[in-house]
C-alpha cells in the first residue's frame, strides 16, 4: 500500500473528486449515493478515484488503529457457520434411521452368515445387530455393528467409506430421548472391537447407534459436534 500513489490527473471535475471521497467515507445521503453509484457504473475514472480514496483512508487505519485480538469464539463460530452450512440438529439427523431396523437386521444377518462380515474374534456371539444407514453427509459409507451382550463386546465394521481428512469417526449410543453416550472412536482399520460396561449393555436393545465425524481424539465436548454420517437401530439377531 505504501507504494500506492494517487494519479495526478483523475476526474477533471473537483466536485466529482470530493463526491468520491464523501462516497468512500459513507457521508452521502441515500439519494446522493444512488445518483453517484449510477455515475460510477459508466465512469471508470471515477471508480479509480473511489479506489484511490479507499486506499488512502485504509492506510490511515493501518497506521492508527491498534490490533485487538477477538475472542476465540469468533473463529469457532466461523468454522460452524461456513463449513457446516446445512448442519441439522443431532436429532434431526438421526430420526429417519430409527426405522427399518428389522430389514437392516436381516441384511446384517445375511452378511454375517455369508461371510461378508467376519467377526474378528471367533468367540463373539452377536445377539444384537445394526446396519448403520448413511445420512446425506455419509454417502458411500457401509457400516455394521454386532453386539455380544453376554461378553459385553461390540464389533463395528466399516466395509466402505472413510472419515474426511483430519477427522475420526466416533460411535454414539442413543437410548430414547437421552443424550447420546459415546461408545468410543473407530479404529483406522476396517474393524473395531469395543468393550461395553454392564450398565451400557443393559440399555442396548432398541437403542440407536450413530456415527459422527469428530476431531482427532474424539468430541471435545462429550456430545457429537460434527455431522452425523450414519445411524441405525440395534435389533435382536
Amino acid at each position: 500500500m505504501s507504494d500506492y500513489t494517487t494519479p495526478p490527473d483523475g476526474p477533471e471535475n473537483e466536485d466529482d473528486r470530493v463526491l468520491a471521497a464523501e462516497y468512500a467515507l459513507g457521508l452521502l445521503t441515500d439519494e446522493e449515493r444512488a445518483q453517484f453509484e449510477a455515475q460510477l457504473d459508466t465512469d471508470a475514472e471515477l471508480r479509480a478515484e473511489v479506489v484511490a480514496w479507499d486506499e488512502h483512508f485504509a492506510s490511515v487505519i493501518l497506521e492508527e488503529v491498534d490490533e485487538v485480538a477477538p475472542s476465540p469464539q469468533v473463529a469457532k463460530r466461523l468454522q460452524t457457520v461456513l463449513f457446516k452450512p446445512d448442519k441439522q440438529s443431532f436429532w434431526q439427523q438421526i430420526w429417519p434411521y430409527g426405522l427399518g431396523g428389522v430389514a437392516a437386521a436381516l441384511v446384517l444377518w445375511l452378511s454375517i452368515s455369508t461371510g461378508i462380515l467376519v467377526p474378528e474374534d471367533a468367540a463373539l456371539q452377536p445377539d444384537l445387530v445394526a446396519e448403520l444407514s448413511p445420512t446425506p453427509d455419509g454417502e458411500g459409507l457401509v457400516i455394521r455393528a454386532a453386539v455380544d451382550t453376554t461378553r459385553g463386546a461390540l464389533q463395528i465394521v466399516r466395509a466402505a467409506g472413510a472419515p474426511p481428512d483430519g477427522r475420526v469417526f466416533e460411535l454414539w449410543l442413543i437410548a430414547g430421548e437421552a443424550a447420546p453416550v459415546s461408545l468410543g472412536l473407530l479404529d483406522e482399520g476396517s474393524s473395531t472391537l469395543i468393550d461395553l460396561p454392564q450398565d451400557v449393555v443393559a440399555l442396548l436393545p432398541g437403542t440407536l447407534l450413530a456415527i459422527s465425524d469428530e476431531p482427532p481424539g474424539g468430541s471435545p465436548t462429550g456430545a457429537p459436534t460434527g455431522a452425523v454420517r450414519a445411524a441405525g437401530p440395534l435389533t435382536p439377531s
Partner: protein, 180 residues
C-alpha cells in the same frame, strides 16, 4: 514474500475454497480488522458479530477481490469499516461529543506531525497534518469512527451545513495535497 503478497496469495487461495488458507488469513488479519470494528462500535459483542460477518463475506466474495483493483489489506479494511459503520448507524449510537474549543481553526500542526514526519509517514497522514488540526480531526472521525455529517453536527453543536462545508473543503485540500 512481502506481507502484502502473502495476504494477496491467501485471498487468492480462499477464492478457490481453501479452508486452511482461510484460517491463515483469519489469524493474520483478524486482530487488525477487529480493532477497526471496535473503533467504530466501541462494544466487543457488536464488534465480534461484525467481524464474523466480515469473514463470512470474505469467504464468499474472495473471488471478486481481483476485479476491483484494491490492494489486499485495503479490500479487507474497507469491507470491515463499511460493515461496522452500517451496524453503528442501524444502532443509532450517539456520537462522542467534540469540544467546540477544539474546532477553532488554527494553524498549529497536529500533535504527531513532527514524529510522523521523522518516520516514513504515509502520504495521507502527512497531508492530514497539513490541515488545521480541528479539520483533520473531523476527517479522522468520519473515517475511523464512521461519524456521519449529522453525527458530527450533533457532536460539535455546529450546524450541519457548516460541518459539510468544512469537511468538503478539507477533502479538497487533502486531494490537492495527495496529488502533489
Amino acid at each position: 514474500m512481502t506481507p502484502q503478497e502473502e495476504v494477496e496469495n491467501l485471498i487468492a487461495r480462499v477464492a478457490m475454497g481453501d479452508r486452511a488458507a482461510f484460517n491463515r488469513l483469519y489469524d493474520r488479519t483478524s486482530a487488525k480488522l477487529f480493532g477497526v470494528c471496535l473503533r467504530v462500535l466501541n462494544d466487543r459483542v457488536e464488534a465480534e458479530e461484525v467481524l464474523q460477518d466480515v469473514f463470512v463475506t470474505v469467504w464468499n466474495k474472495a473471488d471478486s477481490y481481483k476485479v476491483n483493483g484494491y490492494s489486499p489489506m485495503t479490500w479487507l479494511i474497507t469491507i470491515t469499516r463499511n460493515r461496522a459503520v452500517d451496524r453503528r448507524r442501524a444502532m443509532k449510537l450517539p456520537p462522542v461529543p467534540i469540544e467546540t474549543a477544539d474546532l477553532m481553526p488554527d494553524s498549529k500542526p497536529g500533535p504527531e506531525a513532527s514524529a510522523v514526519a521523522a518516520s516514513e509517514a504515509r502520504q495521507i497522514t502527512a497531508c492530514l497534518d497539513e490541515l488545521p488540526r480541528a479539520r483533520a480531526h473531523l476527517v479522522r472521525r468520519a473515517y475511523l469512527e464512521g461519524d456521519s455529517y449529522a453525527d458530527l453536527a450533533q457532536a460539535t453543536g455546529v450546524n450541519l451545513n457548516t460541518i459539510r462545508t468544512w469537511l468538503r473543503r478539507s477533502l479538497m485540500a487533502l486531494r490537492e495535497c495527495l496529488s502533489r
